[in-house]
Amino acid sequence: DVKVTQSSRYLVKRTGEKVFLECVQDMDHENMFWYRQDPGLGLRLIYFSYDVKMKEKGDIPEGYSVSREKKERFSLILESASTNQTSMYLCASSVMSNSPLHFGNGTRLTVT
């Protein structure tokens, strides 16, 4: 079974802090994704990566950056956290294009 692990289930950070969300997958998948999920807005793609050191902007990249230095690890960075970034963050991976995504259990981030 594919395992996608997000380092924290719950995080509370202050406005202006730099926040790192970590995601690791154990199946040598090429593609990795970061989504945020908010009530009434569904899943929105922040960034994705098709290979090591490659990144592509999704639908809502503003205020975020990513890093993929190793194939198994994809990090989401909030450069200066703001209250409107309070959300559920979901990491996913897939073996190739058009393959199913496999999700982690999410990180519930609260910015106060």
Partner: protein, 109 residues
């Protein structure tokens, strides 16, 4: 118009009922279709994956795809309280990947 439309519900049915969840889409480039189940405070879990028109069955779940009508469905037979969750469709094709909004389902004992 959204590329993928999914009724957000909520949908509430009695235990044992047959449940039908649906997504419609407008872009014929979508060729790969997935259904996910998401329990509260958890990540989405893959239920069904299909890429051809017709039906695919797995236990109590059946995924149906009608590419000519641009319509996909997930049927749940003999529904159980443990099926209470949000169900999301995911459509992929031609470098696009689009989720439906999700349907919140409650099965009442």
């Amino acid at each position: 118009q959204k590329e993928v439309e999914q009724d957000p519900g909520p949908l509430s049915v009695p235990e044992g009922a047959i449940v039908s969840l649906n997504c419609t889409y407008s872009n014929s480039a979508f060729q790969y279709f997935m259904w996910y189940r998401q329990y509260s405070r958890k990540g989405p879990e893959l239920l069904m994956y299909t890429y051809s028109s017709g039906n695919k069955e797995d236990g109590r779940f059946t995924a149906q795809v009608d590419k000519s009508s641009k319509y996909i469905s997930l049927f749940i037979r003999d529904s159980q309280p443990s099926d209470s969750a949000t169900y999301l469709c995911l459509l992929q094709g031609a470098q696009k990947l689009v989720f439906g909004q999700g349907t919140r389902l409650t099965i009442n004992p």
